[in-house]
């Protein structure tokens, strides 16, 4: 059967065709592509270097575990996961393996995220020579048989989610002090947990809602000091400008807005920053 013809493209529309055609022909400059190439290379080099050191530290921990278990009487050797590391393959993860953290450093991570890859991959057992000691994922822990003894690797994500929800509902009811207390507790307990970026942002929000503007600004400063994507930095700076403006400190607000604009903002955000600057000028 002959396939139906494809609909006529909008670029041929007499009224808006030109606009669509021009937008479609918008090209990326070589400079921009080269810049991104450079950044990707740097990030990947850091990643592969991190993988190597992680594997080395796992080697050390594993050896210690074996030694201790032998001292205790060799009764629990079977419970230890020991797999030799193939150094030349450190950068290569076996297919289907979830041992190495492959999550991107996304600021707004969510526990119910879909995997980043679109298509499921065939389940295959990784070659033993390629395996490194597995880092337990929450899913894996959940799938474990109930009779298995609880290890220290048990996922804390459900607990984190419960706490986070509690903090949110407290804040919604106006109890920002309690919400902040719960968030601080979470930050101490799970400093690198998957909800950490959300917690930091929520903290700023609750501090602002509670009228602790200085503390909110300090929290923004802390976030700015931590490694984060440029786009997020510029947004935080713009928010800092808003905070200063609300407090009537126009010189500090202007500085924050200018820094945000310097980092680069989306057109909408840039408009807001400029509008803030104008307000400062009026005052």
């Amino acid at each position: 059967m002959k396939a139906p013809p494809e609909p006529r493209r909008l670029m041929h529309d007499p009224e808006i065709g030109d606009l669509v055609r021009n937008a479609g022909r918008r090209k990326w400059t070589t400079e921009r592509l080269l810049h991104n190439d450079k950044v990707i290379t740097q990030k990947l080099n850091a990643y592969t270097a991190g993988l190597a050191s992680e594997a080395t530290s796992m080697f050390g921990t594993g050896t210690l575990k074996v030694g201790l278990s032998l001292l205790v009487g060799g009764l629990i050797v079977g419970t230890l996961i020991w797999r030799p590391i193939d150094a030349p393959n450190l950068g290569n993860e076996p297919a289907g393996q979830e041992a190495i953290i492959v999550e991107p450093p996304e600021l707004e991570s969510e526990s119910t995220e879909k995997p980043l890859l679109p298509a499921p991959v065939e389940k295959s057992t990784p070659e033993p020579s390629l395996m490194v000691q597995e880092k337990p994922s929450p899913r894996k822990v959940a799938r474990r048989a109930p009779s298995q003894p609880e290890s220290t690797n048990k996922s804390t994500l459900p607990a984190q989610l419960r706490l986070y929800q509690t903090a949110k509902s407290k804040a919604e009811r106006g109890d920002h002090a309690m919400a902040l207390k719960i968030l601080s507790e979470m930050e101490q307990k799970y400093p690198d947990g998957p909800l950490a970026p959300d917690i930091r942002l929520a903290r700023i929000e609750y501090l602002t809602a509670a009228g602790h503007f200085k503390a909110a600004r300090d929290a923004i400063r802390d976030l700015l000091a931590s490694p984060s994507p440029t786009a997020r930095k510029s947004l935080l700076l713009r928010l800092e400008g808003d905070l200063w403006l609300r407090e009537g400190n126009c010189s500090a607000a202007s500085l924050a807005y200018r820094r945000a604009l310097g980092f680069g903002l989306s057109p909408e955000e840039a408009e807001l920053a400029r509008a803030g600057l104008e307000k400062c000028g009026e005052r």
Partner: protein, 186 residues
């Protein structure tokens, strides 16, 4: 264009040369991200992230199952979805923070002029579409891909591509024509 990415990583990339992938498809992925999430510095962050994830997951790529563009598009669109979810959270916070709106409709003329007016209007109209419609619209109308290719990239039947495109075009045209009419009346 000489790409440095392929060089330092060549030894660790037996399965897939991510540097070569970037060389061949970096601009395409960048444009797609731009169209899905709108203009801004976050586009570069997302482009970089796409290729970092591609590198980390390179062993999972099966050239017999999908074209590299399809695979990269899947990664990029998932990252864009995440980004948009994160931005919703950020916008919510921002709205609460602002006791008084900072939007100023009377922007100075230089601000208006510095935008690429035409592209800006198209991006504004695009941003009004739901993401599912936006991706089909961007791939068909702006990237000029055909229906079956889009269906394969997104993982939906071709019929669904046309349905989404139909709705997307209706909304897009309506929004853009309204904007144009406003421009003329001003």
């Amino acid at each position: 264009m000489a790409m440095s990415l392929a060089m330092p990583l060549a030894s660790t990339m037996a399965e897939l040369d991510v540097g070569a992938l970037y060389h061949d498809h970096g601009a395409f992925v960048g444009r797609i991200i731009e169209r899905l999430v709108g203009l801004g510095p976050h586009v570069d962050d997302l482009l970089q992230e796409t290729f970092i994830v591609a590198f980390k997951q390179r062993k999972k790529f099966d050239p017999e199952r999908a074209a590299p563009t399809t695979w990269l598009y899947g990664i990029a669109s998932n990252l864009c979805r995440r980004h948009l979810r994160g931005r919703q959270r950020f916008d919510l916070f921002k709205n609460r923070l602002q006791a008084e709106p900072l939007d100023n409709p009377n922007l100075p003329p230089d601000v208006v002029l510095e935008k690429d007016e035409a592209a800006w209007m198209v991006f504004q109209a695009l941003s009004k579409l739901p993401l599912k419609q936006r991706e089909v619209f961007a791939l068909y109308e702006l990237e000029e891909l055909d229906g079956p290719t889009i269906a394969e990239m997104i993982g939906i039947p071709v019929g669904t591509v046309w349905t989404r495109l139909h709705h997307a075009r209706r909304k897009f045209e309506k929004h853009l024509k309204t904007r144009l009419a406003q421009e003329v009346s001003v």
